[in-house]
Subunit: 129 residues, 2 copies
DNA sequence: TTGACTCAATTACAATTGTACGTCATCATG
DNA sequence: CATGATGACGTACAATTGTAATTGAGTCAA
């Protein structure tokens, strides 16, 4: 198969809502938009249709309503999106992104502790290259 | 001022080359493309022009050649791009991205050590919220 | 001095994206 | 039943993006 086409920003926004709702009709997604996000109902319809066409969502007919549910797992989309960004921004090298994040974004000491533990859990699993 | 329009993928690719070269004419950028990246000279020209229009690059005339140099610093572009992605993918929350990266990308034990040190250096500087 | 080249500048054009409209069917209710 | 709300579905359309062709001036070498 050809690799899935990527998601556009607006599509990603909508996909996230479906992931969260697990299972949702157009109206539900529409209503789950953050306040201030002012787009038309039919626009949401369009995004959902495109997401289905691109293979990211399943759609079934419930009565005469279309109900969408995730098809590709969020973690997959995240991996692809992040991977693409790492390629684009850092030539595929993850460490610079890590450095940027650690230095640039604010973490609470709680976060820092969590990160330490994540790293600890890694040790031994890595290929140690 | 209106906020700078974002960079497209192709533009980012070209911007990265300019950052690296510090100062470059179209030809140089063109030649710095990775082997296999097969786009036309004039296409590169177009991207550089757009980058200038969008305010990311400076251009000066050297003889009758246009020489481009960075105007917005890479770190700024990186911050914006990463920030946008964090918003889109994780609703603005950085930690899930960190987790994803740590769990999903392969790090050498050397990398892990470096990350630990980064975290250590943070402690005390963070707002500890 | 005539090609062969090289650039800049302009223009083009298809694909993708963000956004919405129009039409038609269905349903519930006054 | 007429009417208003709701949705599916198809269509539209401008902006952005990825990519290139065209045109015209300047430079170099034969």
């Amino acid at each position: 198969m050809p690799p899935r086409p990527g998601l556009s920003k607006a599509e990603l926004e909508i996909a996230r809502i479906v992931w969260e709702l697990k299972d949702a009709g157009v109206r539900q997604v529409f209503e789950a938009l953050p306040p201030g996000r002012d787009i038309d109902f039919t626009t949401v319809q369009t995004y959902l249709r495109r997401l289905e066409e691109k293979g990211y969502l399943n759609a079934r007919l419930e009565g005469r309503n279309r109900v969408y549910s995730p098809k590709v797992r969020p973690s997959t989309v995240i991996r692809e999106t992040v991977g693409e960004m790492v390629d684009l921004l850092f030539g595929g090298d993850t460490m610079p992104l890590m450095k940027h994040l650690v230095e640039d974004r604010k973490f609470s000491s709680n976060d820092i502790e969590q990160l330490r533990q994540l790293l600890d859990r890694l040790e031994g699993g890595g290929d140690g290259k």
